[in-house]
């Protein structure tokens, strides 16, 4: 995991995605939710989610609903892992601020 952590490229867009999760680290967010919170475009957001997931910062699962009952397709939900939360907190602390302007 440590090697993969070093491979994560921390860009401004990555920080915005992480910030969306740090509002409430226990939240499970879909890609659409992260888009609303971060304002990132889908073409930028989904590669970041996959990168962070592969680096072990995120866990994802399918939403546990019956699409026929809910009337909508199930979503892919992401949440911060303990390691991801620790690493994200360290990064924001190193930047000297809690949230992005």
């Amino acid at each position: 995991m440590g090697k993969r952590d070093r491979d994560v490229r921390i860009s401004l867009q990555t920080l915005r995605a992480l910030e969306a999760f740090l509002e409430n680290p226990a939240d499970e967010l879909s890609g659409a939710d992260v888009q609303k919170r971060s304002g990132l475009a889908s073409g930028t957001l989904y590669p970041i989610l996959l990168r962070l997931e592969s680096a072990g910062w995120f866990l994802s699962r399918w939403e546990n609903i019956d699409p026929a009952t809910a009337g909508r397709p199930r979503r892919r939900l992401y949440r911060l892992t303990t390691n991801g939360l620790t690493r994200a907190s360290e990064i924001f602390a190193s930047l000297g601020r809690g949230v992005l302007a």
Partner: protein, 293 residues
């Protein structure tokens, strides 16, 4: 789960992007993106999302191809995608690709100018622009006559003056400049003529209103005054001669207005009577133009 709006362009873009993603991620990305697309409202928003997914698919495919793929269990969805996000340094980044593309375009342009392609282009341009002399001589034809100009009557808004009409209807108010009475000399003729009761005429019933003949120019200039006008009237109250200004007001406009009023009043004069019988006569009366308070 397939999205209902299969005919949507955004859906097509999402599916296209997912199908061109790495095979182990294609089904997951398609379902995930279609689910997020279903939360979008509005054609533009959905289209932006679809284009974004199309771009994301390209990036993911690029990174996936450059990474050392690890075993993936995407079917369960509970296991991480062990995708190394470290890019291969040998691969070009987007910035590098753009820079190289710009350099290539410049190289092609330089090559074109050096090899003479540009000369042919330059030589082609004058030929394309070469043209014959156009005979612009045209038969001299006189221009058609212009239609007669039409002048609109200018509208002059003059504030209504406050005037005092000093047209005196009463016979006593009219100052008559009467010719000197011929006083028969007492002669030896013993028979004296019977006395004649003469009542001079003046403006009678239906005589025009003085205000209506107040000259506009005089109003604008603030001119006012009294003119004594002499008229000759027959027994029917009609003018028998052109009215004359006996005493000017000092303003030509006022005098002209007085004469106009005198002419307009023809037929509405009260004839002079002698012993109650109307006779033709000449008499004078005053016309006053002045602003009313």
């Amino acid at each position: 789960m397939r999205h209902r709006e299969s005919g949507d362009i955004a859906c097509w873009l999402v599916r296209h992007a997912a199908h061109h993603s790495p095979s182990d991620l294609a089904s997951r990305l398609e379902e995930e993106w279609l689910a997020d697309l279903s939360a979008r409202r509005g054609v533009a928003s959905r289209l932006r999302f679809g284009l974004g997914c199309w771009w994301a698919g390209r990036i993911i495919a690029h990174e996936h191809g450059a990474a050392c793929a690890a075993p993936v269990s995407a079917a369960s969805g509970h296991r991480l995608l062990l995708l190394n996000v470290h890019l291969d340094p040998s691969r070009w980044s987007r910035t590098t690709a753009v820079v190289i593309a710009v350099i290539c375009i410049h190289a092609v342009l330089v090559y074109a100018f050096v090899t003479g392609l540009a000369q042919r282009v330059v030589a082609f341009i004058p030929t394309a622009l070469d043209g014959g002399i156009i005979d612009v001589t045209r038969p001299h034809e006189p221009p058609p006559p212009l239609p007669p100009p039409r002048f609109a009557q200018p509208r002059v808004d003059v504030p209504a003056p406050v005037l005092t009409v000093n047209v005196q209807d009463a016979p006593t108010a009219i100052h008559v400049v009467s010719p000197p009475q011929h006083q028969p000399t007492v002669s030896a003729v013993p028979a004296a003529p019977p006395p004649v009761t003469r009542v001079l005429g003046g403006p009678g019933a239906g005589f025009p209103n003085t205000d209506d003949y107040y000259p506009p120019a005089a109003r604008r200039l603030g001119e006012a005054g009294t003119t004594v006008v002499q008229v000759c009237v027959d027994t029917g109250g009609r003018l028998t001669a052109a009215p004359l200004v006996v005493r000017s007001s000092g303003h030509a406009n006022i005098d002209a207005g007085s004469l106009n009023l005198a002419r307009a009043g023809s037929g509405h004069y009260r004839p002079t009577t002698e012993n109650g019988r109307p006779v033709s006569s000449c008499y004078a009366y005053r016309v006053t133009f002045r602003f009313k308070d």
